[in-house]
C-alpha cells in the first residue's frame, strides 16, 4: 500500500497499532480541510505493528494530548519534502477536555459547560487528578 509522500506536513508516528482512529478524534483532525491519512498496522522494527497518521499541512498540534496519551509517539515535521524536526511530546502538567471526571459528586457532573481539567499529581506513577474534586483520572494512555 502506498500513501503519497508529504511535501509540507506532519507524520505522527509510533502510535500503538489500532489506536490511530482514537487519536484522530482526540486531536480533532476531522475538522481539518487538508489531506489526512491514517495508516493502520504498519510494520515497525521496534513495536512489530504501529499506526501512523499523516497530515498534509503543518498544523498547530496539541502536544499535551499526545504526551498524555502515549509517551512513545513522535511527530515528524516535514517541509519541502524534508524532515526538519522531530518532536517528542512530554507528559503535560494539565490536560483539558481529553478525559471526563466520573465522580458523580464533582461539580462537573452538574455544570456541563465546565472544562474537564486534570493535573499531574505524581510523575512517577503518571497519576492525574481532577482539578475540582481530586478524583484520579481514568487511564487513557496507550501502552
Amino acid at each position: 500500500m502506498i500513501i503519497g509522500t508529504i511535501v509540507d506536513g506532519l507524520v505522527i508516528d509510533h502510535i500503538p497499532a489500532g489506536r490511530g482512529m482514537e487519536l484522530y478524534h482526540y486531536l480533532k483532525l476531522d475538522r481539518l480541510q487538508c489531506e489526512v491519512a491514517i495508516i493502520k498496522n504498519a510494520s515497525s522494527d521496534k513495536y512489530g505493528r504501529k499506526d501512523i497518521i499523516k497530515v498534509g499541512e503543518v498544523i498547530d498540534l496539541d502536544l499535551d494530548i499526545l504526551g498524555f496519551i502515549g509517551p512513545q509517539i513522535t511527530v515528524n515535521v516535514i517541509r519541502d519534502g524534508e524532515k526538519v524536526d522531530k518532536l517528542h511530546p512530554e507528559l503535560p502538567e494539565t490536560i483539558s477536555d481529553v478525559i471526563r471526571c466520573r465522580n458523580p459528586r464533582c461539580i462537573t457532573s452538574v455544570e456541563q459547560e465546565l472544562p474537564h481539567k486534570f493535573k499531574l499529581t505524581d510523575r512517577e506513577t503518571v497519576t492525574y487528578r481532577c482539578v475540582y474534586c481530586d478524583t484520579k483520572a481514568p487511564k487513557q494512555r496507550f501502552h
Binding site: N103, R105, C106, I107, T108, S109, V110, E111, E113, L114, T121, D122, C130, V131, Y132, C133, D134, K136
Partner: protein, 307 residues
Amino acid sequence: MTKDLIDILDLSREEIDELVAKAGDIIDHPEDYRSKCAGKKLATLFYEPSTRTRLSFESAMYELGGNVIGFSSATDSSVSKGESVADTARTVECFADIIAMRHPKEGAPYVAAKNVQIPVVNAGDGGHNHPTQTLTDLLTISREKGRLDTMTIGCCGDLKFGRTVHSLIAAMSRYENVRFVLISPEELKIPENVRTEILEKGNITYEETDSLETAMPDLDVLYMTRVQRERFFNEADYLRLKDTYILTPDKLQYAKEDLSILHPLPRVNEISVEIDKDPRACYFKQVRNGKYIRMALMLKLLGGGLT
C-alpha cells in the same frame, strides 16, 4: 499566600503557624480587632444547610466590625433558577469583599475562586475539602497541647468519607514526630490516596485498627467523627455502620489524663453526653476556636486596606 483558601494544603506550614498565632492574639486581645474589617462585607453562599460553619463565619466577620450578606440554602437563591456557580460568584463579587462558600458538589468553591478577583474560602464542598475546619482543629490542638508536633493522634469512625480527617492528616503530617492511629471498621477505612500519597509518601508512622479500646492508652488526641448519612448512596450501609464506635466513660478509663477529645460536630450518638463533663472533652471549645481562626483567616485574606 494564594488569594483563596480552597484546600488546607494551599497554606504552607509557616502560614498555618502564623494563623494559629494570630488567632491566639485575637483570643487574648479581642478589643484590638473590633473594627479591623469595618466597611468590609462577607458573602456567605451556603448551598446546603450548616449551623456551625455559617454562624462561625458570620460571627467572625461581625466581631471584626464588618457586615454579612448571603443565603443559607440553594432554594433561596438564583441557583434554583439554574444559575451556574461562576455566574453567582461574579454577581456576588459586585457586592462583597470576600466569599465563604459551602456547596454539596466537590470543586464548586474552586470554580468560584477561578472566576472572581475577591478571596473565596471553601466552607465545605461535599465530601472533599473543609479547610477552615482543619484550621479550627489545628488551633484547638495547639491550644490544648501547646504544640503541633510530637504526638499520637487517633482518628476514629468514618475515615473513608470523613473529609475533616483527610485534611487533618494532610496538615498534621507536616509536623515532626506526629503518629496516627486510624480506628475504623473495614468498610470505612482511610482511602487509598490518603494512605499512599500523604502517609506513605511522607514517611509518616501510622497504624490501622478496628479497636478503639486497644488504641486508647497511646493517644494524645482523639479525633472522633460521625458516620454521615448524606455521604452514603445506600441507606442500608449507613444503618449498619452508624453505631460502630460510641465513646463512653468506660472506654476513657484507659486514656491518658491529658487526652484531648475533638469532634468536628454535629455529633449524633458517637460521643456519649456523659463525656461532655470530662475535662478532656474539647469539642465545644473547638467550636469557639473556629470563630477565632476564621477571624484570623479573613484578616489575612483581606490583607491590605483594612482599617
